[in-house]
């Protein structure tokens, strides 16, 4: 630690930080633009000027940029010296010469870092009296709105987009005061992480286009801490609502998980909440227009009476919902809502993490890894933020080059100059080309069986006691040896795999590689990706796969089926599901959006989405995370667990649980694998200074008028019995425990950059620790290997063998009900090896009718050079495509 002095205050700080970081961490307000805790310093904006003194006797000092000076021993600075303050005011004055001052019509207004910094720097009178320069804006796709006139040229956007996220279609053009940040020509931003520009840009150049369509000021949003529902990573979000619709998703800082960022699916996939396919009515047989709640429940209690009831849960429903359903129908009658194959895969991966010796990493751990081997996943499409973390991880092995040259790691540009394009090892084995290939050391594209064989070969070269698969080509052996050596040459290797190539062998091979590295003394971690937000939770809860439940139901003549938040047609082929469903007298479906399954229901009960519900998800790391209801819906759409309790109460199985805390406590107390989850956030009776934490800001406007057209009397605010949050502006507005952060705000800091004030030190952990609880830790040093080496892939005589191909926009169920995501999803497709395409006389973009297990789907042809011959890469999760992904045949 270094002893330094800021404004006369003696501090002990990390000498590996710069003086700006030290100042902000110590609570001093120093304005800045170009610096960002994740992007480091470049010294371009000159806004963070302070006065630095040579020693105690130096009373004059000199102006320096605090972001470009190390917090070295003995540094003495003043953030308040008149020269510094004057210079900072002059810089903001210069920045403002071309800024349009269009705050009233700018989407950023009210949460604009530029507004905050202008006020903080004290520039008020405008001396510049000439014309401002203007720019043309570009169409950048359905996610991002572009308004270049507002630009203050901090260069953050290109540094984030290119250097951090690996994109290459956003750049800086031209020079002098005409520098332009955009694309070479108009078009959709290609990066899957483009939405972070909204938060990275300190002003309104890049704003959320989906928010623009139903714009609301930050201070008018009702916000609550939430968890992203669009993949298994579990990024922390803040969801904001006004007038009954969710208006936007913002990232919620969690150092262990997503840090400052989100992927575009997570940020822009939320509009299914506002979809016109939302279910808001109670449907019973004979009534398509809906009936009253009491009529619906009367019908249910009559028709259920004396019948055997079975239940299908869901990997996209909360743990509490699945638990409630399991309680309601009984363990033997509960399905996790996955097909046998998918459940086996998920269970294999979860069990491997629980019973194995290798740690499942948080995204922060991933970022700290040094070498990476990915088996069978296009991570950017299946667990996007994990891919972004991998991009950071591969920089670790080359970073010491900067240390050796005396360049501090925060000094971003020089670090990149000395490293150039070098990076640590990233080896990818996947069925198709992946979006990380651009930084891959090696790529290997083949069928899942062969990927597993490569994995086993790598394990063999790490630990030669393990079997080397027979019949490998010299090429594959050499590759395996290289991968093994690369992984062994770093202290922190990371193995990534998952369920998405539908191969248990790939999951097992990945585990064997990781275990071999562990036994070689490496600090290895093993990250599995899963399909949905609570795949891990429902798998840990345990239940039956769909086929088993339905087959048993046939013999036991169960008459009533309850399906919760699950579209079964996304789990198994249409014919199978149709047949399964036809055996029930009543099919009661609880869901929030219309699906093929709700269309088959006899009874439909409306329930809430994530934004109308409290719940717990368990992410792919094994971390239990709480999400909160955002607003009180006008519609009768309670949480599914509450709805199930209503069901129970309407039958002979009343629930003792009433509130969310009752349910989550029951889960924690009755099932040891979930011990502690009730305590991952403060209980509902938690109060700060005698108050609940407010969901609305102190500046929330219009509350007395919002419903005045219905009733002039302002309604009494609804009490939230489930959580420590209040639904209105009444309540505590300061910094609450991290799990209860409804928005980031601090006096003078209205933008997301206020997060600085919530961290122990900038860019670090949140005060009181980051929320969430890891439920899976490796059992001590028990080495066990699978060593179940599959036969090499053989081209089938019957047709092409299907491998599912995932798309970040298009493969996931809920986000594809959101207009902006739909715009990016494209058509269902089949990827073919050029030789297979040639044989079938097919070319790119041909329309084709394919048959998987007899289920027909119309798809577009995409020639995929990397795909192995004999394989067909079929778009997973697209409408009509048989989710079973068996062999595919087609006729032109």
């Amino acid at each position: 630690m270094a002893k330094i002095k800021i404004n006369g205050k003696e501090l002990e700080v990390d000498p590996n930080k710069n003086l700006l970081e030290a100042s902000i961490s110590a609570g001093f307000d120093v304005p800045y633009f170009c610096w960002h805790p994740k992007l480091g310093s470049i010294g371009s904006c000159r806004q963070c000027a302070v006065v630095k003194y040579r020693d105690e006797n130096d009373k004059v000092g000199r102006v320096v940029m605090s972001c470009m000076e190390p917090a070295s021993e003995g540094s003495i600075i003043s953030t308040e010296a008149p020269q510094a303050k004057e210079f900072r005011a002059n810089v903001i004055e210069a920045l403002m010469t071309n800024h349009p001052h269009d705050c009233p019509v700018c989407d950023e207004g009210g949460e604009c870092h530029l507004q905050d910094m202008t006020v903080m720097s004290g520039h008020t009178n405008r001396r510049f009296e000439f014309e401002k320069r203007t720019h043309n804006n570009q169409y950048l796709g359905p996610f991002i709105n572009h308004e270049m006139n507002r630009c203050i040229q901090c260069y953050r956007c290109v540094r984030y987009y290119r250097d951090y996220a690996g994109g290459d279609d956003l750049n800086v053009f031209s020079s002098r005061n005409r520098v332009y940040f955009g694309r070479a020509s108009e078009g959709v931003l290609e990066s899957e992480f483009s939405g972070n520009l909204v938060e990275v840009c300190p002003t309104g150049v890049f704003t959320d286009k989906t928010l623009k369509k139903h714009h609301t000021r930050k201070w008018d949003l009702t916000t609550a801490p939430s968890i992203c529902v669009h993949c298994s990573v579990g990024c922390n979000t803040i969801a904001g609502e006004r007038y009954g619709t969710v208006r936007r998703i913002y990232s919620r800082y969690n150092e262990q998980v997503n840090g400052y960022f989100l992927c575009d699916r997570g940020r822009f996939g939320y509009e299914f909440v506002n979809s016109d396919q939302r279910i808001t009515k109670y449907i019973i047989p004979g009534s398509t227009e809906g009936v009253s709640k009491s009529a619906a429940f009367d019908f249910i209690s009559k028709s259920i009476k004396g019948k055997k009831v079975i239940g299908v849960g869901s990997p996209r429903a909360s743990l509490e919902t699945n638990f409630a359903l399991k309680q309601f129908v009984g363990s033997e009658n509960f399905s996790v809502g996955l097909s046998k194959r998918d459940y086996q895969l998920a269970k294999l991966a979860v069990d491997t993490l629980i019973n194995g010796s290798v740690k499942s990493p948080s995204l922060k751990d991933v970022e700290k890894s040094e070498s990476v081997f990915v088996l069978g996943e296009d991570v950017t499409q299946t667990a996007p933020m994990l891919a972004l973390a991998i991009r950071q991880a591969i920089k670790n092995l080359v970073k010491p080059k900067a240390d050796k040259a005396g360049i501090p790691q925060w000094n971003d540009a020089p670090v990149r100059e000395i490293i150039q394009s070098a990076h640590g090892p990233l080896h990818i084995a996947a069925p198709v080309a992946t979006r990380l290939d651009d930084v891959a050391t090696t790529t290997y594209f083949s069928a899942p069986e062969n990927i597993a064989r490569l994995g086993y070969a790598v394990a063999h070269f790490i630990n030669t006691k393990l079997v080397l698969p027979s019949g490998l080509t010299d090429e594959v052996k050499t590759l395996a040896e290289k991968i093994a050596n690369d992984l062994l040459s770093s202290d922190k290797p990371l193995i990534v795999s998952g369920v998405h190539c539908k191969s248990s062998e790939v999951i097992k091979a990945a585990s064997d590689v990781a275990t071999a590295l562990k036994s070689a003394g490496k600090s290895v971690s093993l990250s599995y990706t899963f399909e949905e937000s609570n795949s891990v939770g429902v798998t840990m809860l345990d239940g039956k796969p769909l086929e088993e439940l339905f087959d048993e139901a046939k013999s036991s003549k169960a008459g009533v089926l309850v399906i919760v938040e699950n579209d079964l047609y996304r789990r198994l082929g249409k014919e199978k599901i149709d047949a399964y469903l036809s055996q029930f007298e009543q099919i009661i479906v609880l869901d929030h959006n219309e699906t093929e399954t709700t269309a088959k229901a006899t009874v439909v009960l409306p329930v809430g989405t994530f934004s109308e519900a409290d719940g717990t998800f368990i992410n792919q790391e094994g971390r239990a995370q709480r999400f909160y209801q955002v607003f009180v819906p006008e519609t009768d759409t309670p949480e599914s667990w509450r709805r199930i309790a209503e069901l129970g109460n309407a039958t002979e199985k009343p629930f003792i649980e009433n509130s969310f805390f009752d349910f989550t406590s029951s889960v924690a107390n009755s099932l040891p694998q979930f011990k502690g989850i009730a305590n991952i956030a403060p209980p509902p009776d938690f109060k700060v200074l005698g108050q609940k934490v407010a969901r609305e800001s102190i500046r929330y406007s219009g509350r007395t008028a919002m419903k005045a057209n219905i009733n002039i009397h302002e309604l009494k605010p609804v009490n939230d019995i489930d959580s420590a949050l209040s639904f209105t502006m009444e309540g505590y507005h300061g910094e609450a425990p991290s799990a209860l952060t409804t928005s980031y705000w601090s006096p003078g800091w209205n933008s997301a950059q206020a997060i600085n004030k919530y961290q122990i030190e900038v860019g670090g952990a949140l005060h009181g620790g980051d929320p969430g609880l890891r439920l899976i830790e490796p059992t001590v040093d028990k080495e066990s290997y699978f060593q179940t080496i599959p036969e090499a892939f053989k081209i089938s005589a019957k047709g092409l063998t299907t491998v599912p191909v995932y798309r970040i926009f298009g493969s996931e169920e809920l986000s594809t009900k959101s207009p902006a995501i739909i715009e990016r999803s494209g058509n269902a497709f089949i990827g073919l090896h050029p030789a297979d395409a040639k044989r079938a006389e097919l070319k790119n973009d041909d329309k084709l009718e394919i048959s998987i297990g007899g289920q027909l789907a119309t798809v577009n042809v995409i020639i995929m050079n990397e795909l192995a011959e004999g394989l067909a890469g079929v778009s997973a999760g697209y409408k009509g495509v048989n989710p079973e992904m068996s062999e595919v045949t087609f006729k032109k």
Partner: protein, 423 residues
């Protein structure tokens, strides 16, 4: 009076190619250098008091000594900065076009001294003829074995390449030049790290001015003492190519000892002012130096003396202002240039220079107000050294701040008369 740099340059300026160059004693220093220890050459150049001729005036041998001589590097680079875009400066062009092999010879000696294996000659885009000449000379030097993988069969390897700029003033800033060479935006880099530690492609790199490098063969051949003896000023070794442009009788370039007076330069070499014109002032070392005026005519032209007079020796090529040319118009023209050439990276330069240009235009158009002079004065401080990312804006403020000091009445006249009295 010895003129080592220009003595072999033909009066008609036609380039000297290898046969002729060798017959005049060319490439002798290569043989000598390759027999020396690299550190010995560094020491020799340090002692010679050769200072960077690009304008900064830093001891060249000292600069080289920061290149790490131990350790493994993919490459070490030597780059000749021939991006001569400083307004009023054309000395490097003479050296490149007139005697390209002198530059190449200097680069070989320098490269050996820092053990560089790759080199680039970075030439201003508009210098197309210079580029042609260098290209031919490089081919000859490779052919003769002075360049390549085994120079003069000593085992020393140095490959030298020509790179022509696409034309930005900022490329003359050595770190912006390196970014440009790497194919990136020509934005300056943060210092530290200095290029000696992390330069071109992140490798140890020396960037030297053309004129600086052309001195190296002569220092190696004749020694440090001889080189120091060329100068009239102790501490500034060698000769300097001085120049003059503007309304003087004989604009041109002259190789002279350090320490000649400004008056001698102006009156003897440049032939004095054209008839009917009076000397009003000059920018002594290119556009980014402060004006010197009549009271300074007797100062010596060396780094310390010019600095003591409140300006910089810079490139040593002066732009002369006469009494019939509007000083506001001249400064406006310069600020237009600097505003246009800002890379747009840091705020004060990107936003401040266009602002000063607009105010000067306003004054020149007769629309000026007295408060504008305060804003101009403010900018000269705002864009002062340390406040900006590189030296471009502080350089741009040099003529403005000195013009406001020496020619303030001319600015006020514009404002009072609502017009430019020179038009």
């Amino acid at each position: 009076m010895e003129r080592p740099l220009t003595k072999n340059i033909r009066p008609d300026g036609k380039p000297l190619f290898i046969k002729e160059y060798e017959s005049l004693g060319g490439y002798q220093s290569v043989k000598k250098a390759l027999a020396m220890q690299p550190k010995e050459i560094q020491e020799l150049v340090k002692k010679s008091n050769l200072k960077g001729r690009g304008g900064a005036g830093f001891n060249t041998g000292l600069k080289w000594s920061f290149v790490p001589m131990q350790g493994e590097f993919e490459h070490k680079y030597l780059v000749a900065n021939g991006d001569e875009m400083e307004p009023g400066t054309f000395k490097d062009r003479l050296l490149i076009e007139g005697n390209p092999h002198q530059l190449i010879e200097g680069m070989i000696g320098t490269a050996f001294a820092i053990q560089a294996d790759e080199g680039y000659i970075f030439i201003r885009g508009e210098y197309t003829y210079a580029a042609e000449v260098v290209a031919k000379a490089l081919a000859e030097a490779y052919e003769a074995g002075y360049l390549g993988n085994n120079i003069l069969k000593t085992g020393y390897k140095f490959n030298l390449h020509l790179h022509t700029s696409v034309g930005r003033y900022i490329c003359g800033e050595e770190t912006a030049l390196l970014n440009s060479l790497e194919g990136k935006r020509a934005n300056p880099r943060a210092k530290p790290p200095f290029p000696q530690v992390s330069g071109l492609f992140g490798q140890p790199t020396i960037v030297n001015n053309i004129e600086t490098l052309c001195n190296i063969p002569h220092i190696i051949n004749n020694g440090a003492e001889w080189f120091n003896g060329l100068s009239l000023t102790p501490g500034d070794g060698g000769t300097k190519i001085f120049g003059a442009s503007g309304k003087v009788k004989k604009p041109g370039l002259w190789e002279l000892p350090f320490g000649v007076t400004l008056r001698e330069l102006l009156e003897e070499h440049a032939g004095g002012m054209r008839d009917g014109l009076k000397f009003k002032g000059c920018l002594p070392g290119g556009a980014s130096t402060d004006f010197l005026v009549e009271q300074h005519l007797d100062i010596r032209m060396d780094y310390a003396s010019v600095a003591a007079a409140g300006s910089r020796l810079g490139t040593g090529t002066m732009i002369v202002l006469d009494d019939k040319t509007c000083p506001v118009g001249m400064v406006l023209n310069l600020e237009h240039f600097f505003a246009q050439e800002s890379c747009g990276f840091c705020t004060p330069c990107r936003e401040g220079l266009p602002w000063t240009e607009k105010i000067l235009q306003k004054i020149e158009n007769g629309k000026g107000e007295m408060k504008d002079l305060d804003i101009l004065q403010f900018h000269t401080k705002f864009m002062g050294p340390g406040n900006t990312f590189c030296a471009l804006a502080p350089g741009a403020m040099a003529p403005l701040q000195s013009a406001l000091k020496y020619f303030r009445e001319d600015f006020e006249l514009h404002i009072k008369e609502h017009k430019c009295s020179w038009k």
